[in-house]
Symmetry: C2
Subunit: 289 residues, 2 copies
């Protein structure tokens, strides 16, 4: 199976699990908006959960709740990031954002409830040992809360009004928290389920997350609103420091490719079984959305 | 020890645990706002956790993380409820609300991270068996998400633009979700930790939660901004249907007192050991804040 087919097959499984979880909720505008916000996307994080689980002999059925959980959590972060008081985005995955299609109050509640759903899915992942579920829940809280993703968001907001522009080290630390922590959680989910060492996949994810963010900055300059499904050129026009603005386009591209090699090499202990994860590393810098 | 002293002693313990958890996070505006939002309040939910735990021979030290978790979750709900796009409140516990003291983006992130902290505290409650922790996490997710607290919030928002005003049954269902579900979770935390039957405390909490909300509506009419620490008279001036507007003040008061009896009677299986919880039921209708 090609990498694209494998990614699409995993994404379809995760999508179904998420929509079943949302459909089980009582009807409300929030439930409808949750289903809407949890539709589409690359599902890279869900893919990382399923593939890292396979590497540790945890079958996809057993890992599916965790894959759906990380995508619910990611969807929550997008709904809140898009709010007028945050990034103020009107377009996401080619569709109006939740606060545009509904209203701000519904968008706040939708993000809130998607976060809750992530923890509910993990708590109820019956195919996993209780200790593995608790390890996934505790580590997801650390990765997504005020020491992880939310910290990165707070630093991003603080940067907008800071006296001095961010430098490369600041941006690297900010992105490691804002997007890297969740990618790291997803890649380490497999060994966590199996009670195995997370170090090789943590190393892979650190390089992958940074490559992903550099590629995102390149897409913001070179990409296309039709292909990406979101407004491009926003960072540049806002004068925001990005990997591209700080390094230049060519150096940023070279760094992203270097990181892909680092990510692939970190998988050495797994041998050829980790080829789908190697393909994912190449994919994050080659994608057009 | 009097009920007031016991409530204050439990509240102080919960407050310390919460502030230790917040202090362990990396410094950021969000961390500061989390500490601010998690300060003060009656800590009724935390008290219910500690007292229901005592009833099941779970010592307060073992139950403290769960008590802190429910207060973190409650604090998240207040920070988001106070946002301009929600209830637009500028005063809470006698202090400026988070979005007034910081800004809206920080308030969104602060609520988000307080929710995450709640699940982190539960996952890390080492004194409890893994299965008990998972039961607490799963049930908190159900109580607080789009089938519980968030559903009540969504119904509350929908009511503002609905063609027909809410009737007594609607308000009762709305409040059972919006405030009742978390109170129910707190009261059932003890039997959940011990793997015991939650039915008696669930019955207690159903009556207590409703009495609490009726008392809140009475305070909105009769209370005082200085004592309550929040703006009073907002519901009446917004023409919002409340227990008082639908039943009248005298009938609402009578109903609240009847519910206190129902709550106290539900505790019969526990005998005199449940006296602190009986006192809590009398307290919720007698309080001035």
């Amino acid at each position: 199976m090609s990498f694209a087919d494998r990614l699409a097959a995993d994404a379809a499984q995760v999508e179904r699990r998420l929509q079943v979880a949302v459909a089980a909720l009582p009807d409300s505008a929030v439930r409808q908006a949750m289903g809407y916000a949890a539709t589409g996307g690359k599902r890279l994080r869900g893919f990382l959960v399923l593939e890292s689980a396979r590497l540790h002999d945890v079958p996809p059925e057993a890992a599916l709740d965790a894959a759906a959980a990380i995508e619910a959590l990611h969807a929550y972060s997008l709904v809140h990031d898009d709010l007028p008081c945050m990034d103020d985005d009107d377009l996401r995955r080619g569709q109006p954002t939740v606060h545009v299609k509904w209203d701000e109050a519904t968008a706040v509640l939708t993000g809130d409830a998607l976060q809750t759903l992530a923890f509910e899915l993990l708590a109820g992942a019956e195919a996993l040992e209780p200790r593995a579920r608790l390890a996934l829940i505790g580590s997801l809280a650390v990765a997504s809360g005020a020491a992880g993703m939310v910290l990165g968001q707070a630093q991003d907001i603080a940067a907008e009004t800071a006296a001095a522009p961010l430098e490369l080290d600041d941006i690297t630390a900010l992105q490691a928290a804002k997007t890297g922590a969740l990618i790291g959680w997803a890649a380490c989910a497999g060994p966590r389920m199996a009670g195995a060492d997370t170090a090789p996949l943590a190393g892979y994810a650190r390089a992958l997350g940074l490559a992903f963010q550099i590629a995102d900055d390149i897409l913001d300059v070179e990409g296309d609103t039709d292909a990406t499904g979101k407004r491009v050129g926003k960072d540049a026009s806002a004068g925001k420091a990005t990997f591209v603005s700080l390094m230049g386009l060519d150096a940023a591209r070279a760094r992203a490719h270097e990181l892909v090699s680092v990510a692939q090499n970190a998988l050495a202990p797994y041998g050829p079984a980790a080829d789908p994860l190697r393909a994912a590393a190449r994919f994050v810098v080659a994608r057009d959305r």
